[in-house]
Each structure stands twice: as structure tokens, then as C-alpha cells.
Symmetry: C2
Subunit: 581 residues, 2 copies
């Protein structure tokens, strides 16, 4: 009897239709990552591949050509590449496509630790044709798509599980000592935040209690935000340059702070030398770094912005370049990466990226930004240490900022979500970030809601992220229309909500005391009419009241932390409290 | 490691939402029968139940109360009913509902042969409430829905697998000897076909080669079609009454013909004594046979027709009544049943129906009319011997009547369909029936297309059904607008297409020679541009040309049967041929 896809490493859909996504143009393989419980390929365990043959394609044979020596698999000529025929499975009815699907399965032999396995799949259709073969790969040179699986025993480092992370948008966080921010009238311009300014604020962050900084991109870039890199080997001079970086590393080490850098691998600035070279008629090597539809003026680019040409992450040269850059900064004191728009590159790309970075820095971490279904998110297990927890962010905002769902609905989604994703991965949690409305404006400016949401966030297992300013009540001038509205400069101290900041400080202490990263909330009771609920979290009880009137008699002697200072024997409306169990 | 639903006997969705279907009103269980590969409960094997808890319902406990002694399970009081707690499975992301689903599983102990197991499921929600409990069952008396599983070793009788079936619409097939049909101006009136007339035609049917008759409903009924029964224990006098029935049975036995009767269990005629009694204010027993929304004027009825009140098949009295009627006619010479609108009654109903009929007549058969997805169709395996193959009918008409899909698409859907459904069940095939446009009018009157389609139909494993008249070229006056257009009276012999009838006769011989019921077509080649293909079927090769010009050099010396008499070294346009392999 066959067990459904529980051990699949890769699962693909084979279809004649072209995928819409630009990074898959011309490739009849659309990677589908559904129904994978564990994407990790472990040494000594067979590697199961699944191919879902859609209603529009018949195959009579599907052959896998694979290598485990680092070489590219060769499928259409004499070579030492090994091969194996996939086996068809019984057909299944597929409601989504309203037709019968035929799945194929191949089980590659177990591999040794630290193996990088590469494979291509080549089919023969019902007419006996190798079809559509050669499947035009991303490089448009007749090669089928090469998939990569890394085989290792790497688990997420413990420090990431225990971390409390502070997200610094460098240009907007702190100007250099003695300077001030430029006027916030033009939010598309640099406002003057630097690494020097950040260094000056480190003691405040330590006092708050965070132990990890995630910095917005700091590599040389023409943009204030840095999300299009011109030079991966230089810190942007406007942010303080390489000298400030080294000072920051030293200062953080002294204080026990770790640094996670934002790494943008999907695209470059069009001023990056590789793209400039790609426009040279004689430079065919660099031309292949990008996906030109018609050289030199038509190419894939991020958000349809020609100044952000997308890299072809399937090219070995590109992988080598990006991996080397990532390793370079790990050696210069960086502790890991937040991977921008990770879904823009293939799973195989990240498998190799992680193998390279962990080999150079065994305690380094990487977690991705992937905004997709939970099914897709789970497919990154084993490729990365974790992912930013977008589904949880949505759930916390739906429940506590907009109050749109009941607490029993919240509990149901929360528990299933934690079980589904927080086993194989570390999922950093957040209430807001630089690409969305801040929580506070979404909550209509109601700080009570922010405090309740933060209390819940800090008692969940994923390492919490504080987006700069959220802890002191920074909001927006108006709701988004432009991303920049959520990136206002950090206000001067006299404009801070110091009560809120103190609350955050207590939150972090509470989180560590409870060891929340090891806990799962267990619902004790819920009353959807009164909009109250209570959960056990380790040795404490969390009580939430989203109703309009006070609820629940509390044993005030057991009170550890409350969002509302008037909390006594009753929990006030729109507040939460934590009690010793 | 858990294996995905391959052995489930029952699979349910638990949801707060009310099902739309009238037969499930008030019951938060919507029976879902998807992803069951084998619904048969075999003696000595554990019985696996699956409960899919949707995104709108949280459960902290799910308890199964079950009996195997024929009694009703009691869940809310002292009893000898056994119980067992279902276990939660890991959550899964469900794209269709866009949320996390929580599945529960219960494994009941293995049972002895011929056991009828009944169970109810009772949940406790996240607030600790038994919710919504008691789940209002179909009887509106506070009982949860009782599910039925029969445990047996019953396989479909061999004779059904080998059968060639002729569908007789009795009122339209043959008038009594010496009579003629009434004018076809009013197709809603009886036109005068009788069992006496049928008896007179038996020798013609034997000469054609069929071995099984499926008769439209013959029990006493106010309607010409008989699909609303007034008396299950009497043959409609207008069709010849009980005397003609007994004569028909004798005549068929002498000729080796089997008789399958159309059995309508979903609803009755409003003139049936049970419904008349249900309108009596004092008769509470019969009132419960039906689902009154507001007695006496609002009740569930078939196709919203008040003269066709629907039965409540969950009521033990109703089951006993219908099972007894079915057994009665089996004892009087009927060989089995075609089950009208089988999806209108529960799987548990049919489990008991089959247990009762097979117990009384071990070689009797039953196959259902279920127009639903292949997933749902497969769920009837083990409840019935088979189902009318509606998906195949659609495929044959799409390919050969309307020529809307390519031959490679046809082959792909066909092979997957056969693998998916023809293993556990016998699936009688048909090109048309009394509820759809006849094949010939759909094919624009092109007899070539009908012959090609019939040739393919008769070389497939499912027992073929010939709808009366299709074999002599009976078509329609106009496309449906009303079902009756496909129910014209059988024309006199001088209007028959005798060539077509001879072709059908050869078809049946060919089918028996090839033992097509044991074969699976294997595609040899296909050319979608020329619209030609060839399949191996056992010891013969089927070649099809749907193109506009002749194709393929044939070895004419091996020709066994061709749809076009001019077939020689070339296969003419729009024709098919069978050759010795």
C-alpha cells in the first residue's frame, strides 16, 4: 500500500500549459509544493519524488537522470549520469482540475551527508515522442530544468528559536550622532539613518531586551531602501560604509546582539556591474545571468521595474556569485539572513544557498519572506531554517486589530497553524512590517489592541519581531497608498509612548520566563458572546477580553502582567492579562 | 506513519453549515465520499472511519457509538452500545476551503461476515459543549444521524460482468399482439407498450445477441414511465399486470435471458397508500416515512413535484418495506435491480438493501444511477455491484458524437477512468438513455459516428447497454427540450436501419469472442493531426479514423469487423475497424 506523499522531497505538476510566473516561462514543469510534510532529505534515507501528471498530458515513460557529484545531469548523450524510471501510481480524481490525474513516483537511493543531488526528468508521451523534449529550461538553451536537493542533517540553530528580533529599517531608524533626519516630506529619498546612528541606540535596544537585529539591506544601492543591490561587497556609503559595519559588529558582539542581514537574491540594481556587462554585445557570459526575452531591451524584472532586473538563479555562475557574497559577510560578522522575496527563486537555489552558508558558518541562520499558501510555506522546510509567519500576522490582525473573527475561530486557526508549520521550521512572528500598514493604524490607533496582540504574539512559539517604532507607538500619517507611509522616521524620544515601551520590555522578560518558544497555547475556555477566552501557556494562564465590558473574576494575587494597568479582580474591556497558573 | 485514506470505509465532513440537499437538512454531517479507494468492509479487517473537521468547527473530542447486533446505537443514555474515541490527525491545508482542516480517525474492530454495523458520532467542541448535540437527525426527533456499514465478502456476480444489456422503456417498446401504439402526439400519455408486446419480441432480442433486459419501472404507477410507484407489489395493469410478468419470466428463462428491474426507492407516487396514510392526522407512524417540513402540506419531494413525495430512507420501517419489496420480486423471477437516483438515499441505505437482496437471491445484482463526480461514484464500491457509467458516456459522446476532443485526450481519460472505477465495480456502459438526447441526434444524424462509438463501447470492459431503438437507428424529432423526445415509440420494422442492426449483432459476437469484459485497451499509436489511433484489445487491434480522409494501410486479410463496408487496404474517413492482431 502506498502512503500519500508524506515523505516526498519534491512534488511537481507536469502540464503542457505554460506557467504564468516569469521565472518559469517556457518550462512545462510548474513546481507544486503541496502536501509535503517534510521536505528535508536526510542522509541514509531514500529520496522520494512525485510527479503529478495533469489532465492535459499523457506519459508512457518518465525517466529521472541524476548526479550526486556536483555535476550537471546529462540526459541526451553519453555520460556517467545515472538514471531511473519513475513508476505510475493509480489515477486519482482531482476536483480542482475536474479530471483524472496520473501521478508518477521515483525513489532515488539514499545519499551521504552533505550531498548535493541534481536531477532532470524526461518524459515520453503516449505517441512515443519525447515530449516536449528537450524541455526548454530557464536558460533557453534546450536543457530541461535541473532540480537540486541537498541531503543533510541541518536543523535550525537553537538561538533562532529563542531569539527576540528587532527589525531596523536603517535609513529610518537613527541618524548619525549629531545629525538629524531630513524632512519626511519626500519619503522616497534618503532621510539620513545610518549604522552609526544604530550603534548609538544599541544600549536602548539591549535595555528593551531584544537579542537580534534584522537590518534592512545595507549593501551599496541607489535606493534609500536598499532592495536593489549595486555591489554585494560594499556597505552603502550613505549608511556608513564598511567602517560603520565593522564598528557595529564589534558593538553588537560586546552586547551579545546578533545581526541578521536582509539578502536580496531575486534581482539586482540595473547599475550592478553584472547587468551593465550583460548589455555588452560581446559578454555572453553575463547575458546568461538574466532572462532576456529580447536582448538588450526586454528582460524579466521585479515588479515590472526595468531598474530591477531579475537574476536567473538556475545559472551556476549566479548561484556561485550570490553564495560567495553571503559567505563573505558571514565571515565579517553577520549571523544570518532574512531572504527577500524568496519564492522568486527555486527551492533548489535555496537548498544550495543554505548548504553554502551553513558550511561556512555552522551557526548561521536563514529565514525567508514567502507570501503564499501554508502548503507552499511548508515546502521550504529543509531548504531554510524558517519563514516569516505571514499567516499568523494575518490572523493576529484579523483578531486583534480589526476584531473580525471570534476567539474560538482564532484558537482553531492558531492551533492548526502551529501544528502545521511550527514543527519543521522556525517561524518568526510579527504584527507589522515595512510593506504593510502598521498594526496601530489598522487598529484605529487603539493602543489597547496593540498591547493585547503583542501579549499574544510574545506567548507564541515563533521568535517575535518588533518592527522599529511599533514599541513606542509610531503609527502613520495615513493608511498605505504607498509603502513608504509605514516607513516614517523614528520620532524623537519625547514623542515616544514610554508606557508602551515599558510594556514591551516586560513582555520580553515574560517570554523568557515562560520559555514561550517551547510552549503551545492550550485553550482553557472561550465565550464567543462575551468575547473572552483563556489559554494555558506553560506555567502561566493568558486571559483575553475583547468584549465591551469587564469580564471574569481574576485572582489578582497571581497577576504577572496586564495590558491595562487598572486590571484587578476584573479584566477590563479590550485587555489581556497573564497570571501564574 | 499514517496512510492517506486508502482504507476508509466512511469519510465525512463535519461542518456547522447546513447541507443544501434536502435529504441532509438539519444534519451538520455532510457525507463526503471522496478519496475512498475501497469502500468495502471485509470480515476480519478493521473498519476505518474518517471525519474531516472543516475550517468552521473545532472539536476537542469525537466519540463513536456503535452496535453490531442490528440495534440502533444509543449515545445519550445507559445502554450496551459500545463506544470509541476518534483520534485527531495532523492538520492539513485545504485549498478548496482556503483554511486548515483537522481530520479525525476512528478504527473500529474487525467484524464477522454478514454483520450490519451502525454508528453515530458525537462531538464536543472547543468550549466544552456537546455541539450541536443532539445533532438533529433526519427524523427531527433529536437523534444524530445513524450510519450503516455492512461487512461482507460479496463481489459482483460474474454474469453481470459478462452481460450485454438491452434497455426496454416498456410503454414505448412494443404494443400487445394485435395492437398498435397510440399516436405519439402526446408523449406524456401511455402509448400502449406492454410486457405482452415485449414477450413477442424476445426472439428478436435473442437473435440480436443480448442476454439481459433492463425494464423501465413496471410496478403500478399513475405515470406512463412508472418512475413514481403506487404499489410495489403489483405490476401495472396497463403494462400487462402480474400475469404478463409471470409469462415474461418463463419466456426469458427458456431463452436464457435475465431481467433487471428499475427500482425507485427515493420517492413514491402521492397515491401510494403510505403517503395517503401519512396525511391522516392520527397516523404518526406513516408520517415519519416522509420528511414533512410542515405537515401536511410541506414535504420533501423529487424534482419539486408534490406528486412525488420523497421517502426518508433512514427510517427502519421504510428500509424494511423497500427491502421486502425488492426481495419479493427476486423470488418471483427478477434477477436484479437498476437503482434509480441512488444518490438520493444514503450509502447506509444501499448497504442494507444489498445485504437483504443478496441474502435472498445470492446471484442477484444491483447497479445504481448516480450522476456525480468519479470520486463519489467510487464510494459506492461495496454498497452496490456497480454503477451506470455516466463519465464514460460523456467521454464517448464528446469524442465520437461531437468530435470535440482529440484521440490522445480520449485515451488518457479513458485509461485513467477504467483504472479508477472499473476495478472495484462493474460499470455498465451506454451511449444514450431515456434522460438525454439520443446519440444519433447528438451526432447530427451521422450513423458512421454511432457505429464507431458503438464499436469502441463494445470493446471496453463494462457490460454494454443498448437503449431500445438505438440499434435500428431510432432518433428524435427534435433535440430535448423535454425528456420525452428521447422516448419515441419503437418504429415498425420497415422503418428500421437493418444494416445498423446487423452491425450491432456482429458487435455482440465480437465482444464475446474477444472477451472484452476482461480486457483493457492499450494505445498502440495515435496521430492527433490525422485524427487516427489504434489500440490493442486482447487478441485484436482496433483502428479508428475520425479524420476527413482515409488513413493507414490495413492488412485487409486480418479484418474482422469494420463500421464502413468499403473498408479495404485503407480505413475510410469517420470509420473504425477491428483486425486480428
Amino acid at each position: 500500500m502506498f502512503c500519500f506523499a508524506q515523505e516526498c522531497i519534491d512534488e511537481w505538476i507536469l502540464t503542457r500549459r505554460r506557467a504564468k510566473s516569469s521565472c518559469l516561462v517556457g518550462c512545462p514543469f510548474r513546481q507544486v509544493v503541496s502536501r509535503r510534510l517534510e521536505a528535508k532529505a536526510r542522509p541514509g534515507e531514500p529520496i522520494r519524488l512525485r510527479f503529478r501528471c495533469g489532465i492535459d498530458l499523457s506519459l508512457r515513460q518518465l525517466r529521472i537522470f541524476w548526479t550526486n557529484d556536483g555535476s550537471h545531469p546529462i540526459w541526451n548523450g553519453p555520460s556517467t549520469t545515472q538514471h531511473l524510471d519513475a513508476q505510475p501510481l493509480p489515477p486519482v480524481w482531482d476536483t480542482l482540475t475536474w479530471g483524472y490525474r496520473q501521478d508518477w513516483q521515483a525513489i532515488l537511493p539514499a545519499q551521504a551527508d552533505a550531498t548535493i543531488l541534481r536531477y532532470v526528468a524526461v518524459g515520453v508521451d503516449s505517441c512515443g515522442r519525447t515530449l516536449p523534449c528537450p524541455w526548454p529550461g530557464r536558460d533557453r538553451h534546450g536543457s530541461p530544468h535541473v532540480a537540486t536537493v541537498t541531503v543533510d542533517r541541518l536543523d535550525p540553530p537553537t538561538w533562532l528559536r529563542q531569539a527576540v528580533i528587532y527589525q531596523v529599517f536603517v535609513d529610518r531608524f537613527a541618524p548619525s550622532p549629531g545629525s538629524v533626519f531630513a524632512s519626511a516630506d519626500d519619503l522616497d529619498a534618503r532621510l539620513g539613518g545610518t549604522l552609526w546612528g544604530l550603534i548609538e541606540r544599541l544600549d536602548h535596544l539591549v535595555h528593551l531586551g531584544v537579542d537580534t537585529l534584522w537590518l534592512s539591506p545595507i549593501f551599496a544601492s541607489p535606493n534609500y531602501h536598499g532592495y536593489a543591490v549595486r555591489d554585494f561587497y560594499q556597505v552603502e556609503p550613505a549608511l556608513g560604509g564598511d567602517e560603520a559595519w565593522q564598528q557595529l559588529v564589534d558593538a553588537c558582539r560586546q552586547r551579545g546582539l546578533r545581526i541578521v542581514l536582509d539578502f536580496v537574491a531575486n534581482h539586482l540594481s540595473d547599475r550592478h556591474p553584472a547587468f551593465v556587462a550583460a548589455l555588452d554585445p560581446d559578454d555572453l557570459v553575463h547575458r546568461r545571468w538574466f532572462r532576456f526575452r529580447r536582448w538588450p531591451d526586454q528582460f524579466d524584472c521585479f515588479f515590472a521595474q526595468p531598474h530591477q532586473p531579475e537574476l536567473d538563479g538556475e545559472q551556476p555562475h549566479v548561484r556561485d556569485y550570490l553564495n560567495a557574497a553571503a559567505v563573505y559577510w558571514l565571515r565579517l560578522g553577520c549571523d544570518g539572513y532574512r531572504l527577500d522575496h524568496a519564492h522568486g527563486l527555486s527551492h533548489g537555489f535555496w537548498s544550495e544557498f543554505r548548504a553554502a552558508t551553513r558550511s561556512a558558518a555552522p551557526h548561521s541562520v536563514c529565514f525567508g519572506e514567502v507570501t503564499h499558501t501554508p502548503q507552499t510555506l511548508r515546502s521550504y522546510a529543509g531548504r531554510m531554517d524558517g519563514l516569516l509567519d505571514f499567516p499568523l500576522c494575518m490572523l493576529l490582525r484579523d483578531t486583534f486589530a480589526r476584531a473580525e473573527i471570534s476567539l474560538s475561530h482564532f484558537d482553531r486557526r492558531l492551533c492548526r497553524h502551529l501544528d502545521y508549520l511550527h514543527g519543521p521550521m522556525v517561524m518568526p512572528s510579527f504584527l507589522d512590517n515595512h510593506d504593510m500598514n502598521r498594526f496601530l493604524i489598522t487598529a484605529g490607533g487603539d493602543v489597547r489592541r496593540l498591547k493585547v496582540a503583542a501579549l499574544v504574539q510574545f506567548l507564541l512559539p515563533g521568535p517575535p519581531i518588533i518592527y522599529y517604532g511599533t514599541e513606542i507607538g509610531l503609527s502613520q500619517r495615513r493608511p498605505l497608498g504607498r509603502l513608504e507611509e509605514s516607513r516614517l522616521p523614528m520620532p524623537p524620544r519625547e514623542q515616544w509612548d514610554h508606557d508602551l515601551r515599558d510594556f514591551y520590555r516586560l513582555l520580553i522578560r515574560l517570554r523568557r520566563r515562560v520559555a514561550a518558544h517551547e510552549q503551545r497555547p492550550l485553550l482553557l475556555w472561550v465565550d464567543d458572546d462575551a468575547r473572552c477566552a483563556a489559554w494555558q501557556v506553560g506555567a502561566v494562564v493568558l486571559v483575553v477580553n475583547l468584549g465591551a465590558s469587564p469580564c471574569q473574576t481574576l485572582d489578582a494575587s497571581r497577576l504577572l502582567l496586564a495590558t491595562d494597568p487598572t486590571t484587578g479582580p476584573h479584566l477590563p474591556a479590550w485587555s489581556a492579562a497573564v497570571l501564574q497558573a
